[in-house]
């Protein structure tokens, strides 16, 4: 690269100093936000947020250190070097998310991809501060504290703009492009202000201008969601909805022929962040166990359900079952994602399955964070509370299965009120005899016990989903109820739901906000099952965040 010393820099120290500071600030902000975007994207796609944020931050720091060390090898420091590094960083930032998507799309969940992207970003950024310090010696020396002040302050400004303001409306990929071109625009402005005529500098500018756009266009086709492969045989499925809401990736598919007994009946499946929320052929069984069995418990206690609360369950299927109960007068439905509520109200297939539950005047829809809502909700008014959250695959969801959360939920129940909780997989897969309760329902029972609440577990024999039930009625006898209602596990009883009194139970920790062990248990369970559905199905590209 032909590099020329900036002409007249001594005569115009102000422009030179502005250039130094601004480039340093741009590079720091760019590198830092790239790391945050990559870490955010990966942890959103693969759940394990604490691990990946920590490891990626660690690698970012290591690469900054190695970059800083590498800068000592340079004999001369020139302002063009600084421009070169910043321009490369703009280029790299613009391509970071599309490269990550391409890596996941073609090779799957390989931890090395995001770390490599973060590493290159950090290695380039790490050379900026030592270089700025050396360059400043030609002019007015920059105090290290002042330089750090500007660099670190840039980090918060960039983070607010790109991860808080732009990320939600634009998505990860477009945010990385906007970040890249914003930085490039500022860098070009400085190149012009400094009257840099070096061909290498302008060549790199062109590279940073064209590179991200061209790379995105080139890889866009390759990362586009392929035809969805559904069913056991991997038949082609139609993707009816594929969109990223503020909170989750919503995918709704339609398959034909996956049920050998009803080859013309379409099977609709709703996925949230790659995890199955409901399957139209089998969901009746699941929702019967989750909503109707506890309603029978309430009735058995002599307090038929009049007022119910549904936490989660934005598809409206729990509400549908509750509205089918004769005594029901009012249902409060609390769902985090307004987009999910809107889809359940407007999408024709969803409306058919939930029988327009969200249009029923008895249902009050509340778009709110359940944890925040239950803290301020009226106490002692609900005869039945149904908790239908997704499995706690990350700590954000795991909070909703904690002792603290239940300590806010239980007081909302009336004197003989019943609480029903969707509790994930029922069997521990390491026990082929299926005599061991998995760690998820075990933890939920123990967590309820930690706030002095007895509870019981039963399961859906079709999908092996566990449900934990708890009642405020001190006289309630689960065994008697199981026999009476026909859910006791016995060859003579139905297969809708099964209650078994004796289980082998694994050792578990209570799930409090200070531990949140449930996520680890669930991810271990998925690992023993060969990975979560979105990992096993080969539909990575469909489920990846935008």
């Amino acid at each position: 690269m032909s590099l020329t010393v900036l002409k007249g820099q001594r005569k115009r120290p102000s422009i030179f100093r502005i250039t130094l500071y601004t480039l340093s600030v741009i590079a720091s902000g760019c590198g830092f936000v790239t790391q945050m975007l990559v870490a955010g994207y990966w942890s959103t796609a693969f759940s394990n947020d604490v691990l990946f944020f920590s490891v990626s931050t660690a690698f970012y720091f290591l690469s900054l250190g190695l970059g800083s060390l590498n800068s000592t090898r340079w004999k001369f420091a020139r302002v063009e070097q600084l421009f070169g590094l910043t321009l490369f960083l703009c280029f790299w930032t613009g391509l970071s998310i599309i490269m990550l998507k391409y890596g996941i799309r073609t090779k799957g969940e390989i931890f090395l991809f995001p770390l490599a992207i973060v590493f290159v970003s950090g290695f380039v950024s790490g050379q900026i501060i030592p270089l700025t310090i050396r360059l400043s010696k030609n002019d007015v020396p920059i105090n290290l504290g002042t330089l750090f002040f500007f660099d670190y302050t840039a980090a918060i400004a960039f983070t607010f703009l790109f991860t808080f303001v732009l990320l939600i409306p634009l998505g990860y990929q477009n945010t990385s492009l906007v970040l890249s071109y914003t930085c490039l625009a500022a860098t070009i402005g400085l190149l012009i202000a400094c009257r840099i005529r070096s061909k290498a500098a302008w060549g790199l500018t062109l590279f940073a201008l064209v590179g991200p756009a061209a790379g995105t266009l080139l890889l866009k086709h390759a990362v586009q969601a392929p035809t969805f492969r559904g069913g056991l045989k991997g038949e082609t499925a139609k993707v009816l909805i594929n969109e990223q809401s503020h909170y989750q990736k919503i995918v709704f598919t339609e398959e034909l022929g996956s049920n050998p007994f009803h080859p013309t009946t379409p099977e609709h499946i709703l996925y949230l962040d790659g995890f199955i929320q409901f399957n139209s052929i089998y969901e009746q069984n699941y929702h019967f166990c989750l909503a109707n069995i506890p309603a029978f418990v309430a009735e058995d206690s002599g307090a038929p359900v009049k007022r119910a609360l549904v936490l989660g369950g934005g598809d409206g299927l729990v509400a549908r079952n509750l509205l089918g109960i004769k005594s029901i007068e009012h249902v409060d439905q609390v769902e985090l994602d307004p987009r999910m509520i809107e889809l359940a109200r407007t999408e024709p297939h969803l409306r058919k399955y939930n029988r327009d539950a969200f249009h029923d005047p008895r249902v009050k829809l509340i778009a709110a964070d359940a944890f925040r809502w239950v803290r301020e909700a009226p106490r002692g008014v609900y005869d039945l509370i149904v908790i239908d959250f997704p499995d706690p695959k990350n700590v954000t969801l795991s909070r909703l299965y904690s002792s603290e959360f239940y300590s806010y939920v239980l007081p909302l129940l009336s004197a003989k009120g019943v609480l029903s909780i969707q509790s994930g997989p029922v069997f521990e897969l390491t026990d082929p005899e299926h005599l061991t309760l998995s760690r998820m329902p075990t933890t939920i029972i123990k967590t309820l016990a930690s706030i002095r609440q007895d509870s019981y577990v039963y399961y859906n024999p079709r999908d092996h989903d566990a449900f934990v039930i708890a009642t405020r009625d001190p006289q309630f006898d689960m065994e008697r109820f199981a026999e009476k209602s026909g859910i006791a596990e016995s060859p003579h009883h139905s297969n809708l739901c099964k209650y078994r009194k004796y289980w082998r139970v694994p050792a578990v920790e209570t799930n409090t906000l200070n531990t949140l062990t449930l996520t680890e248990y669930l991810l271990d369970w998925y690992a023993s099952a060969g990975g979560a559905y979105f990992e096993r199905s080969g539909n990575y590209a469909v489920f990846l965040p935008e």
């Binding site: 604490v50 660690a58 060390l69």
Partner: protein, 257 residues
């Protein structure tokens, strides 16, 4: 209370008449420089661990990991920038300033987690307490590297110092999800990190004590902080259970169902 510690030494006799940090100081010995590099590494280790500790704990309490990590890390980096800028004023008294901020950091770190948990329970907005903890800790850890850099008395040491700084951050970032969080949990981790900061102050105090005017007082203050941090570690789990029981009525269930 603090002023006597940070004030320049009193001029009691001719030998003490010269300032502790002369305009043209004698270069540090290689062993001293190595010790300062190590100090930078430990400081960075605890700094990154504090960032992740606060970001993860806020995520545990309030969810939305991308938002919490971005907020905590960027706010902390901005505070580090302010700390770094403020450190200019203390360059002439770099060593006592460094020892002082390590003691304050140890106390802030140890109380931050219980304070956040309490604020989550009470009506105090958790973000208010979080901002206080993040800005407080951020300003202090932002001062660490410029002060250590000044103690090295050489501009050439900066790239290596930055390398140790970043390498310490790397180790801290790896240790956090693999060891610190799963093995220690939040309450114990805060106490361990506080003990690390107090220990770091002690490590620097011993070889550089001759340049301090009140080295005995410093020794007592730092040892006291270290003992408090170790005590906090021993009682961390008890404190957590006590808070869980008294705030949310969560009992310790020792058996499995």
């Amino acid at each position: 209370m603090i002023a006597p510690f940070l004030a320049p030494p009193k001029m009691q006799n001719a030998a003490l008449a010269k300032p502790t940090y002369s305009p043209e100081p004698t270069p540090r010995r290689p062993l001293e420089v190595a010790l300062l590099y190590g100090a930078a590494g430990i400081a960075a280790f605890t700094a990154i661990a504090y960032e992740l500790l606060l970001a993860s704990y806020t995520t545990f309490l309030m969810g939305a990991s991308v938002f919490q990590y971005s907020l905590v890390i960027s706010l902390m980096m901005a505070s580090m920038g302010v700390g770094s800028y403020l450190s200019k004023n203390w360059e002439s008294r770099a060593l006592p300033a460094f020892l002082f901020i390590e003691i304050v950091l140890a106390f802030l770190a140890a109380v931050s987690i219980p304070a956040l948990y309490y604020s989550f329970y009470s009506g105090i907005p958790p973000y208010f307490v979080l901002s206080f903890a993040v800005i407080g800790i951020g300003v202090i850890i932002g001062m660490e590297i410029p002060l250590i850099s000044h103690l090295t008395r050489s501009d050439d040491a900066l790239p290596k110092l930055l390398f140790f700084d970043y390498f310490g951050g790397f180790i801290g970032g790896l240790a956090f999800p693999i060891f610190l969080l799963p093995v220690l949990g939040f309450f114990k981790m805060a106490a361990v990190l506080a003990a690390c900061n107090a220990g770091l102050a002690l490590i620097l105090l011993v070889p550089f004590r001759h340049s301090l005017s009140h080295s005995r007082r410093w020794f007592v203050a730092i040892t006291f902080t270290l003992i408090l941090s170790i005590t906090a570690y021993i009682f961390a789990d008890d404190l957590r259970r006590w808070m869980e029981l008294n705030l949310f009525e969560i009992y310790d269930v020792t058996y499995s169902p």
